[in-house]
């Protein structure tokens, strides 16, 4: 039997280049005669563009061209489209460069192309824009008030869409029969993704062939190609090649088709010169799509015994100044549908209003909608326990769905395929001594130390699917993934995957899957991704889909390869195909392994074609598309233990325990790593990160100096374990792992802090739970 790789912590093959400085990130690439781009950006959140004077900038030595929004529009450039449409949605035009008005700080008004980046930036400073400054707003709730400034004429009340889900009558009825109703308003604040690699693009138009190559920091290069070709620039799709080799983190922010790459690609074609643009961090803060930003009023109906009877949620989602690619889906289908959480709540109704403001667009950021849902559910659970005088664990146990209830149809559209929520909770409690903690907490309080514990018994939905259903709900794209498995004449294998790796380690994990399925050594398998010129098609990586969807396509492709190979082998063995088996990398007639044909023999014959079954085409290659029948539903229990310092309000995380059920795991080391990083991103929302605007909609947390991207000494090591409930949705039983940490951790931390503050009668503080906010809440309060 050949070695198998599934489930093993194989060291990553991509590391060899990344550890030695040999990565190929977009800004690292060099093409002769490359020119450089800089954007002129609005310093105002809302203003009319009266006039743009390019005279001084154009006169600068080394400046090649300067373009404005009008230049692009007049040449036929179209607005950047939206990939998910809801009924009645308003979709105002979003041109790559602003035409008449700017609508958020950093909105681009002109593009300068120069011989060096230093000159481009100097010239951009010399572009004089005459702005008529208009009143601006940044807050989603303010946007709905009478007399609020209007962002787009098409939406005079700033409402982009109104969306609802669930049985309203049944939910209202649940509230009339409730023993107790717990109500809370929640602010799920705005975050800025901050992948450490800033966005970048390098466009190179070849006037001779009419082809354009775009290297871009994308999580989904085929989506970039399709949208830029078909909707924005009108380039024939086959004349545009999009390449995203090494990408330095995405977290959602590199899904979207941004104005900069559209404008730069257009300009490269206009000038027939390569053009490079690399965002600086300030531009990243102003223009990378932000995340979260909800105002929510939520209430839960409770029975006297602590059963959840109904949940009513009203949310205002701030979408920013323009709709980016998936913005409408995030606070609706990725949020409202998850409000069941892990609980038996029979009636749920959610009402979401998406609004425009004069801020950076908001779209999917790690977790996308699901962290917002999980935070409010898990906070309400703790508030309910408090209201009923129950223990937070007891109320969870009472309401958790039980293993025999799966598949479970939730009241908000999702069909949970599988789950064992108690199993994960039990395992977490073997790692964290809860009764022991309560004793420790009581003892500490006597010494004036305030410890707290927070639970998050979460579920999430990832690997968004199936295409047909998503299409019916407004998606403008399919949600399958493709893979081409190409066996070469020597038996070596190249897998072309439509998934994209920007830190996830696909070159390793996908090779593990392919090598196992084809029963070949891992070093015989190469994984190719991120190039529309060589990968046939793909939807890319977001929403934790590479594992559950991308690997399934590879698995399918490998089955097709084995089927064809078996036909060839049977022919060579002069045997009936039905009698031939493939084991240990050899084809033989069942029972007679002594006479066999190797994978190499069969591969070679497939290409020599000297002796193939009659009618069989030469070659050994298969393309597969996997379109899953449902989402997958990772779940688990996270437990956070904190200490809050009474005098300063400083929160210190003392322990963090996470038990996740991600189904079958290809590479435990890599999955652990993703969970580690995900947890810190969620912890960081609870404690540190916060995008803030002032009254003029100026972003006042516009750099790493005043927006907290957590550092090594801001957190501790986490303790991980897993349970394994394979999903029946895909052939390998894999669920997504990229977002669980972020989805689960934020409420675990917030619950822990509120538990620590409970002696002071504090039930809720909106995040981030900074020392200032906690100190403010504690001011004047005495321990009960």
């Amino acid at each position: 039997m050949s070695e198998t790789f599934f489930g093993k912590s194989v060291k990553r093959r991509e590391d060899a280049r990344l550890l030695t400085g040999k990565g190929a990130f977009v800004d690292d690439l060099k093409i002769p005669f490359t020119t450089h781009a800089a954007f002129v950006r609005s310093p105002h959140a809302h203003a009319k563009i009266n006039k743009i004077d390019l005279t001084a900038a154009k006169a600068m030595k080394g400046v090649i061209a300067i373009y404005t929004g009008k230049d692009l529009k007049d040449s036929g450039v179209k607005p950047i489209p939206v990939g998910w449409l809801l009924p009645g949605i308003k979709v105002p035009a979003h041109y790559p460069l602003a035409v008449d008005k700017v609508r958020h700080m950093g909105d681009a008004v002109a593009l300068v192309i120069a011989e060096t980046v230093y000159i481009a930036r100097d010239a951009a400073e010399l572009v004089e824009v005459d702005y008529q400054v208009l009143p601006a707003l940044s807050d989603g709730a303010e946007a709905l008030k009478k007399g609020a400034p209007t962002v787009h004429d098409e939406a005079p009340d700033n409402v982009c869409f109104r969306w609802a889900l669930g049985d309203k009558a049944a939910t209202d009825k649940a509230f009339t029969t409730a023993h107790k109703i717990v109500k809370q308003s929640f602010r799920n604040h705005r975050l800025i993704p901050n992948a450490i690699e800033p966005r970048a693009c390098l466009a190179s138009a070849n006037a001779g062939t009419g082809e354009t190559t775009l290297w871009v920091t994308s999580q989904n290069p085929h989506v970039h190609r399709l949208i830029m070709a078909a909707f924005v620039l009108g380039i024939p799709e086959h004349k545009l090649r999009v390449i995203s080799q090494d990408v330095g983190g995405g977290f959602g922010s590199k899904i979207f088709i941004y104005p900069e790459e559209c404008a730069v690609t257009w300009a490269s074609r206009a000038l027939s010169r390569p053009i490079k643009w690399t965002s600086d961090r300030r531009e990243a803060f102003l223009t990378d799509a932000h995340g979260r930003d909800h105002h929510t009023e939520a209430e839960i109906a409770l029975s006297a015994e602590g059963n959840f009877l109904g949940l009513r949620v009203k949310t205002v989602a701030n979408l920013g100044a323009y709709l980016t690619l998936f913005a409408p889906a995030v606070p609706t289908y990725l949020y409202g549908t998850l409000l069941t959480g892990t609980y038996k709540t029979p009636a749920i109704h959610v009402d979401v209003t998406g609004v425009f403001t004069h801020t950076t667009p908001v779209d999917a950021y790690r977790g996308a909608g699901r962290p917002e849902a999980t935070y409010l559910i898990e906070r309400l659970v703790d508030l309910s326990a408090k209201a009923l005088g129950m223990d937070p664990l007891e109320i969870r146990r009472k309401n958790l769905l039980t293993s025999d209830q799966f598949p479970y149809q939730t009241p908000v559209a999702l069909l949970y395929d599988s789950g064992n929520y108690q199993g994960a909770l039990d395992k977490a409690l073997t790692m964290f001594d809860y009764p022991g903690f309560r004793k420790e907490q009581a003892a500490a309080r006597k010494e004036g130390r305030y410890l707290g514990v927070g639970f998050s018994t979460y579920v999430e939905a990832c690997g968004l699917a199936p295409s047909q259903v998503a299409g019916a709900l407004g998606a403008q794209a399919g949600l399958y993934e493709s893979a081409t498995v190409r066996v070469h004449p020597t038996g070596k294998v190249t897998v072309f995957t439509g998934s994209h790796s920007h830190g996830q380690g696909h070159e390793t994990t996908f090779a593990q899957v392919a090598a196992d399925e084809l029963q070949v050594p891992m070093e015989d398998v190469e994984i190719v991704h991120g190039d529309t010129g060589i990968v046939p098609f793909g939807m890319g990586s977001y929403g934790s889909r590479s594992g559950p969807v991308g690997t399934a396509a590879i698995h399918m492709g490998a089955q097709k390869i084995k089927e064809k190979a078996k036909k060839i082998a049977a022919h060579l063995l002069e045997a009936n195909e039905k009698d031939v088996v493939y084991e240990g990398g050899k084809f033989f007639v069942k029972g007679t392994p002594g006479v066999s044909k190797s994978f190499f023999d069969v591969s070679l014959m497939a290409y020599l074609a000297h002796n193939l079954p009659k009618g069989l085409e030469p070659g050994l290659e298969a393309i597969s598309f996997f379109d899953p029948g449902n989402f997958v539903f990772p779940f688990g229990t996270h437990i956070c233990m904190v200490e809050v310092e009474r005098s300063t309000g400083v929160v210190k995380v003392l322990r963090y325990v996470a038990v996740d059920d991600l189904g079958r795991v290809i590479n435990p080391m890599i999955v652990d790593g993703m969970v580690h990083g995900g947890i810190l991103q969620g912890v960081s929302q609870a404690l540190y990160e916060h995008a803030e605007y002032d009254e003029n909609a100026q972003l006042i947390t516009g750099s790493m100096m005043n927006y907290v991207v957590p550092k090594a000494d801001d957190f501790i090591g986490v303790e991980l374990a897993r349970t394994e409930t394979p999903t029946p949705v895909n052939p390998l039983g894999i669920k997504g792992a990229g977002e669980t940490g972020t989805i689960a951790s934020t409420p675990a931390v917030a619950n822990a802090v509120m538990d620590a503050l409970s002696p002071f009668g504090i039930q809720h503080i909106d995040m981030p739970l900074t020392p200032g906010r906690i100190w403010e809440a504690l001011r004047g309060r005495k321990e009960a």
Partner: protein, 158 residues
């Protein structure tokens, strides 16, 4: 314009450059050593960390002319004759990197850290790396990687 001679990874490099060119741009654009990255404009992220006469510095915060006559080490010079050093091995072994963008700076900073403090505690590693941001790993495995490298280095010196 100014003429500078900077010894980079052991090789003296003499170039005519604009005085305003940052050291990181000199390394990346003039010498083509693109392993050193730029992640922010405010010297917070540490992706550009290199060594200057053996000390870890942020190459986005120095003009190239300030390095004239001095010795700079970059990620490209860490492995010797194709053999990774203990820190690179540690990061590989412990999965201390994901997207790999912060990694060169992280390794340069971590190498300088264990040279200063050959047996750091986990807390000392975390504090010692507070000038380097990673958005992927949550730092858990970076701490393990540095400890593995520190142990391997100590064993090698015994």
């Amino acid at each position: 314009m100014a003429s500078v001679t900077i010894t980079v990874n052991g090789t003296p490099q003499t170039r005519e450059i604009e005085t305003r060119v940052l050291l990181v741009h000199f390394l990346r654009d003039t010498l083509g050593l693109t392993g050193t990255h730029v992640g922010c404009d405010t010297s917070q992220c540490g992706a550009c960390t290199v060594t200057l006469d053996g000390m870890a510095v942020k190459s986005c915060s120095l003009f190239a002319v300030q390095a004239d006559g001095r010795s700079v080490g970059t990620i490209e010079g860490v492995a010797k004759e194709g053999k990774l050093n203990a820190m690179q091995e540690g990061f590989w072994q412990e999965h201390g990197l994901q997207c790999g963008f912060c990694t060169p700076g992280m390794i340069m900073a971590a190498c300088a850290l264990i040279e200063r403090n050959p047996k750091p505690t986990d807390h000392e590693v975390r504090v010692g790396l507070e000038g380097n941001m990673c958005r992927c790993t949550g730092y858990t495995n970076i701490v393990k990687a540095v400890q593995t490298a520190a142990a391997a280095t100590a064993a090698g010196k015994r």
